[in-house]
Amino acid sequence: MLILVEELALFYIYILNFLVVYIIVRSISFFLVLIPLHINNSYAQDCEYKLSIQVLDLHDGLPLVNATVEINELDKLGTTDFDGNVVFKNLCTNSYTLNITHEEYESLSLLVNVKKDTYKQIRLEHHLNELEEIMVISNNRNNSRTLFENKISKEVLEDYNSRSLGEVLKTVTGISSLNSGNYLSKPVINGLHSSRVILINNGVRLEDQEWGIEHAPSIDINSIDKISIIKGASALKYAGDAVGGVIIAESSREKLLDTLYGNATTNLQSNGRGGGISTNFTKTNSNGWYYRLQGTLKRMGDFETPNYVMTNTGFSEHNLSLKAGLNRIDHGFDIYYSLFSNYLGILRSSHAHTAIDIINAIENEVPHIIEDFSYDINIPRQKISHNLLKLRGFKNFDFGKLSMRYDFQSNDRKEYDIRRGDRTKPALDLNLQTHSLAFDLESKFQNNSNLKAGILARYQKNFPDPATGVKRIIPDYKKYDFSLYSVYDINLSENWFLEAALRYDFSHIDAYKYYRTSLWEARNYDELFPEFVVEDLGLNTLTNPKFDFHNISSNLGARYSISESENIFINYSMSSRKPNPSELFSEGLHHSSARIEIGDLSFNSEVGHNFSITYDSSNEKSSLTVNAFANIVDDFIYMIPIDLMPTIAGAFPYWEYKQEDAKLFGFDLKYDSQYFTNFFVGHQFSIIKGYERANDKPLINMPPVNLKNQISYNFPELNNLNISLESEYVFKQNEYPNNNFEVFIPTEQTYQLLDTSTPPNAYHLLNFASSIGFKAENGGNYKINLRVENLFNKLYKNYLNRLRYFTHEMGRNILLSVSYNY
């Protein structure tokens, strides 16, 4: 209760603060108008002053020809010339009312004081009915014009609305997912994931303990209308540390019309024997006010492989988002709130404690606990809730569009593990709170160039609850970030478009952590960091590590347009990522991987140099995208096995985070073509290779080569019935680091190989998909989707599933969804 009151109080403060800043923004604009008037104190009373008026379009700032300007008091009329200018001469010191009209724009009246020769710029707004079109055009603009963006459309999102974000992203060439079971999946871009992939949800960088390999992003795909994926680190407006890439999830812009629209979707699936409902509702007004509500409920039971039930893999999820605001084109604000919460069972048999448990699991191939199908979500499980509140305001000024954003995120993560005693108590209980305040400016520099710049301050606090009775894996810390960025782009000629960006990030971390004294000394920290020690408590040592990181990232990109439908994108980006809390502070047994993981306090930032080239061509009959990249990463942070460490529970593999130079290369290809009238064929291919630079040892968890092919046929006359067959072939990963270990088996006094490295075999899956649409009488429309995945019920294992030692993947799954749009 106290916490709630505290939160409410904080919330109140933020609202106040928002208002204060909004007032500042307003007053700046007020001063900008007033200042010239104060200076222009006059001395003469003669009627010889000149009033020059320039009329511009409010959006693009282009001059308006043929606008009529009338001075009411004098009955004088003028028409603007090609540069939008009109001049009135011989005016006396006085205030005049101007009426400005233009056939394509809304008329405007305003008062002008003339005390000397006066110049005034006036911006006109389009008629409302045309505004809608203008906004659609400006919104379709990419985040960057020199970067090839992969997009996931609303249609694809609707087809996949019962899935997790990670699954949806896999539809994009070159993106795979790192899974822990069936539903928990993390996106992998160009072979990199976790802290190296940044997620932006409606303009807000997601802060949800993303360093954890078994932590899925806290985003409901039903709250999103569009996803853009930027491979490589080039989205410097959002982050400078995205060594892998950036995923930008957005909800669509509200229409500037008096209308009401929405969607309701129900879906059911055979595997997991569950489904979900999702609905959203938007009301917009032509005066700019709007609101939007959205909610999702999902519930699944245990998933099944072709041969057995994966006990305790069900989940439930409920999400909610609200948005309201005012969009007046030249100014506006919005408030956005979203709640993501899920309750996720983890395969019962995946709880391994020692290396021998894993050896046994690998030998058995199937989980040792298989129970009848159930909807119960027992231990082990995760309970996540993520709250996001965003306030944003913007206003167009002469110098550009200035926007201000404040956002607050609270991420609560509880992990329940199999333990003795009180099982209702989580084994991990983390609360991460993040506040950010950002100002962004977008301005048209010249007619052919733009400048974007921004400043951001962020405060973050991590609180691991000590009531768990389990050693904290991530310490208490406070983090202060400060960032500056600027992006400049220029249209050099008809064919060449260039972009350059620079970003500076400062971070200060102030952590409190109890180290085992024996480890503190074994790592030599007592000599390296004596200043961190607060108190030696015998068994443990309380420390206060403090770090500062100064990171620079930059980006240089070019687009060459061969023709309207053919483009080449070339990009170089440098990104700098500071070590995440796990890489710095880990020091002990990680139960879910049955190994001891040790971080390093002396790590510096990882720096990636990413070169990429993309060729994109599309016409009515076909489209082709080819992308190649090389990512040279200095001081790449990753874990390697060092030794076995004896403990009372037996010997554990001892893994340490290391910093070594690495290199990654990859190539993606996507080709779609149309044959005859209604027959479509699509192909996707991607290959990624990653190595340590010093010894060419392969990096772990690199996505295997995969090839997807699709044929589909469309029957426009049969309610747009679409039938397609998809084939997905995933090769065996033949390049992997050999991290296998000989483990001592005390009961037999012998050694046995712990083979956690060898990847599973290649597999081939077939999926069937179909969709059909109907018009409803009231103007809405229905869409029915039927999908069958893993059509032939194939039993297989996936290299990128962390639970592959314990279980196979899901068997056949029949999915039916009905959605209604109005």
Partner: protein, 183 residues
């Protein structure tokens, strides 16, 4: 310009309003940890023939290795009555884990193994489902020789089972003690 002053005042207010008192975090009472297993063996024919075996790892998953002690040789051709005790010595005073294991007897089982020496084990206690637990046991020694006794405490094994290899569950404790059987 007054408004700017307020704004400057407001921004730090925003950032430090969420800044709680600079309290150091409280130490965690590590409940789950077992640091010590002690096995008490008494010759059923000779109450003065008592042997203690112990493994103790005071820093838990820290880098220090467990200390294993066996305080004497076993006699051949004898039956020993054994009892096992577990403790968490990270807590002060040390917590007796044996009670917890007895309470959750149906979720635990101790497994006994001998290699290199001729020793037979028999369970001396059972859980509520009449499946073996192993906190109390007996062992019969055969001929003289050197070898090891391995004692494994498993959490959540399949019960009943036919041995450690197929019992599943997860290993809480596993230690091999070097033993000598003397004539």
């Amino acid at each position: 310009m007054k408004i700017f002053k307020y704004a400057l005042l407001a921004i730090p207010f925003l950032y430090f309003s969420c800044n709680d008192d600079d309290d150091t975090p409280e130490p965690i009472n590590e409940e789950e940890v077992i640091t010590t297993m002690t096995i008490y063996l008494e010759n059923s024919a000779d109450a003065s023939d008592v042997i203690m075996m112990q493994t103790q790892d005071l820093d838990g998953d820290g880098p220090n290795e467990p200390v294993i002690t066996v305080d004497g040789p076993l006699s051949s051709g004898s039956v020993y009555i054994g009892a096992i005790g577990w403790a968490n010595e990270m807590e002060d005073p040390a917590e007796n884990i044996t009670l917890e294991i007895l309470e959750e007897a149906d979720e635990h089982q101790v497994f006994f193994n001998a290699t290199g020496v001729d020793i037979e084990f028999e369970y001396g206690d059972f859980d509520s489902n009449n499946n073996p637990l192993g906190v109390v046991f007996s062992m019969s020694t055969g001929n003289a020789g050197d070898g090891t006794i391995t004692i494994t405490l498993v959490h959540e094994p399949t019960k009943p089972n036919d041995g450690l290899d197929t019992a599943g569950g997860s290993v809480d404790i596993q230690t091999s003690f070097p033993v000598t059987i003397e004539q």
